[in-house]
Symmetry: C2
Subunit: 473 residues, 2 copies
């Protein structure tokens, strides 16, 4: 299970953050071991280990007899995207057709998958999971089938509760409902607190599937802009909560899709105070929780939840077992209603998948896998950022998320992302155009690019070709 | 895959039907081999094989030098239940709380499981399925994960389409949507054709989960009585369709839960003509399709569907793989909408479960397993019917379904099924009380008993004890 943060890891994170913010610039010398040890009050060996880790993560490099320097590739490349406009006061959502037509166009498996919503399945320990599946099927008594369908597999529940505890969130066991992926949890949670016609505050840009769910349930979107690094704009959210009868907030506090933004702990606490003040429930979509590049696991807003207002949705789909379709929701006050609604719609998530994941979490080496996965994604991000810097036109702005596998690119205003998508598809390159992330079809000159697949000469060529297509606008 | 009906099996079915209807009474001699061979125009060897089969199914017995006789146990025991009342013109459904409280009371695994909705997991080839799972996980390429999540596993789709073809139903491949069990298929199908407040024609009594779904979606029930053998009352359905703006019919044409009734082919054709005339879509819940005791597979109403009006929902949960949560819907005109709605709510059924079932259907011996399963259920039904005859008070009426694993018992009017349930639970016996099967909480003196678990002295004692509790009313 998740280990404690070691002192050297915490120190490394602080240095990495300075590099990310440009406080330590590319080519600049990082503090010597002696300096750092004194100023930070840590041992020399702690500093050494931290620097080895940063070297391993590609952020600094040793130069003979001169110490450690920030690497060129770690420099701030392109500017960050700008936050979106303020958004309206509650709009009907009508984006589903567009999303489906875009998703259908992405299904050709021969394209360079920059538009994919999924990371490369090769990044996951599928063979090891298969062994856990065999053991789960062998060891689980036949009679358990019926009970497990109602409550969920007990060992899996305990494993998930333990991971919450390690992240500083203590849940009542009854609060946890196992679901068919995070998506089912989000659907059930939203249905538990809204009626058709209600207003729901969402992010702008937002994960397109959340827009489709609002549309399907006849809910209206109050779009709140998201800062590409700091997350949802809390001042505007506060205004909207004060002025409108908003029935729920739905957001990603961490590695937001598509921007990659994360709320700081202070902002999470502030957000929670707002929710409490207006008695508005939060759907916290935390599907990318495990994909952070820092050594610290993030704390969800759920960690601040005193009143049971937060429905926290997680999943193994993006960090361990794609296609197994196992997620969960820690449902706060609405847990029982969510559990009942699940019994009436899908009855239960697949039991073999639950057994396999429970066994894997106990015996499979989840944390070792996660370290490898994060390392791969981080290095793929570096490669894509460097390529964007090389090939994309000046004026392009690119996000620099601290995890996950998406970059958000804001191109000069003359670029039309939907046209770009068609041109790119014709050349075998997929991408996710900005308008599918917006209830009001904004972000016409933005795209989301995935670096979830291993970087290859083909990826590099695709970035170069995208750059040429962009130049032609 | 399903084999053709052999001549001797068809002949055996005809004899079994005569026994079931009392045309051949217990103790009566069945026609001699010579007589039967002449009158039916079949060979003597066909008659012999049919009689061996009927002997094996416990319906007839050989007496030395006298020929074959209908067994005593095969006699018509108790009378059949009476069809329910005509039902109202569209009522709000408010039965979900009652259903949940009853279901919660059934969860103690130590009770005699007459109230269970699931047959004994020991009846299923779980070890063989586990081998198919291992092979499926080993052989399916990693890259298939993403494609299979959108369309469903291609081999599984083909296997299901082949089984439809053998049952005389030809589907367009695009019509088939793999779902998280039949329950998800039914939910998605209903949402595709209704809006809150709409009227839906359902059976009375009906599967309680269908009532809960109506309640959850804010739909109103038009209850149509079901005859315990012949199925839904088509005359009353026709009246209601003529007089009310019914937006959908939801029924089980075959082995209806809880009565076990099945529509004849003639009635299915008549039902379809009604649907076509009023342009009303049908949700055909066929979860028990494979559990018929006859050798012939039943034809669903879907077989009569010329205009794409029937959404036919099936599942492997009750015939092969409980807990795997793999079902499907052949969605007629609404297939694309159903597929999209699934993508927005649960994205995909669990892939390992799909791979395992596809492999099993190809290599596992499904038809052999089904023959064993049906045989076990038929013999368990005989045992429960005989016990009901021995222990239940006079005036009790019991259904005699031609498959599945439920008996419907109608007790004398003084019996209160909810009180009986509490008393029985206190003695470690579960049962499903009549009122949970009715939008209007009717059937107060009825219960559904499951014979889905192997018959034992404990089952026998539980039936005797139920008889004593009934006598006390």
């Amino acid at each position: 299970m998740a280990k404690r943060i070691k002192r050297y890891e915490a120190f490394a994170d602080r240095v990495a953050e300075q590099i990310r913010r440009g406080i330590l610039a590319p080519g600049e010398r990082v503090p010597s071991v002696r300096q750092a040890s004194r100023s930070q009050g840590v041992s020399a060996s702690t500093v050494f280990r931290a620097y080895y880790l940063l070297e391993d993560r590609g952020l600094i490099e040793a130069r003979a007899r001169s110490g450690y320097f920030v690497r060129e590739r770690a420099r701030r490349l392109l500017e960050e995207p700008t936050p979106g406009p303020r958004g309206g006061m509650g709009a009907e959502v009508a984006v589903s057709e567009l999303v489906f037509s875009v998703l259908a166009s992405l299904q050709d498996s021969d394209t360079v998958p920059f538009g994919s919503a999924f990371p490369d399945p090769a990044l996951f320990p599928l063979a090891r999971l298969a062994r856990s599946m065999s053991r789960g099927l062998r060891e689980r008594p036949e009679a358990a089938v019926i009970g497990d369908m109602t409550a969920g597999h007990d060992a899996l529940r305990r494993q998930i509760l333990q991971r919450y505890a390690l992240a500083g969130v203590s849940l009542l066991p009854d609060e946890l409902v196992i679901t068919n992926g995070a998506m089912e949890g989000l659907n059930l949670a939203l249905q538990s607190v809204t009626r058709p016609g209600d207003l729901v505050a969402i992010e702008s840009p937002a994960f397109y599937a959340s827009l489709q769910v609002l549309e399907r349930l006849g809910l209206k979107a109050v779009e709140i802009p998201v800062h590409p690094r700091h997350g949802i704009d809390l001042a505007i959210l506060a205004e909207r909560l004060a002025g409108l009868p908003i029935k729920a907030c739905w957001l990603m506090s961490h590695l937001q899709n598509p921007l990659g933004a994360s709320l700081s702990d202070a902002h999470k606490a502030e957000l929670y105070r707002l929710l409490e003040r207006y008695e508005v429930p939060l759907l916290e979509d935390d599907a990318y929780a495990e994909l952070h590049f820092d050594t610290r696991p993030p704390r969800p807003v759920k960690a601040f939840d005193r009143a049971g207002l937060v429905m926290h949705c997680g999943s193994f789909s993006k960090c361990l077992a794609p296609g197994y379709r196992i997620g969960w929701v820690a449902g706060g006050r609405w847990a029982e209603e969510i559990a009942r609604c699940r019994l009436m719609t899908t009855i239960s998530p697949s039991l073999p998948a639950q057994w396999a994941i429970a066994d894997y979490l106990q015996h499979g080496g989840f944390d070792r896998h996660l370290r490898r996965l994060r390392h791969a994604l981080e290095s793929q991000q570096r490669a894509m950022l460097a390529a964007a810097d090389r090939y994309f036109p000046s004026g392009t702005r690119v996000s620099r998320p601290t995890g996950g596998y998406f970059l958000w690119c804001e191109f000069p205003g003359r670029v039309d992302a939907l046209r770009l998508m068609k041109q790119a598809l014709a050349e075998g390159i997929s991408l996710a155009p900005g308008p599918i992330f917006s209830a009001s079809r904004g972000f016409r000159h933005c795209v989301r690019l995935s670096y979830g697949h291993s970087w290859s000469p083909r990826s590099e060529a695709a970035m170069r070709r995208l750059g040429e297509l962009l130049d032609a606008f």
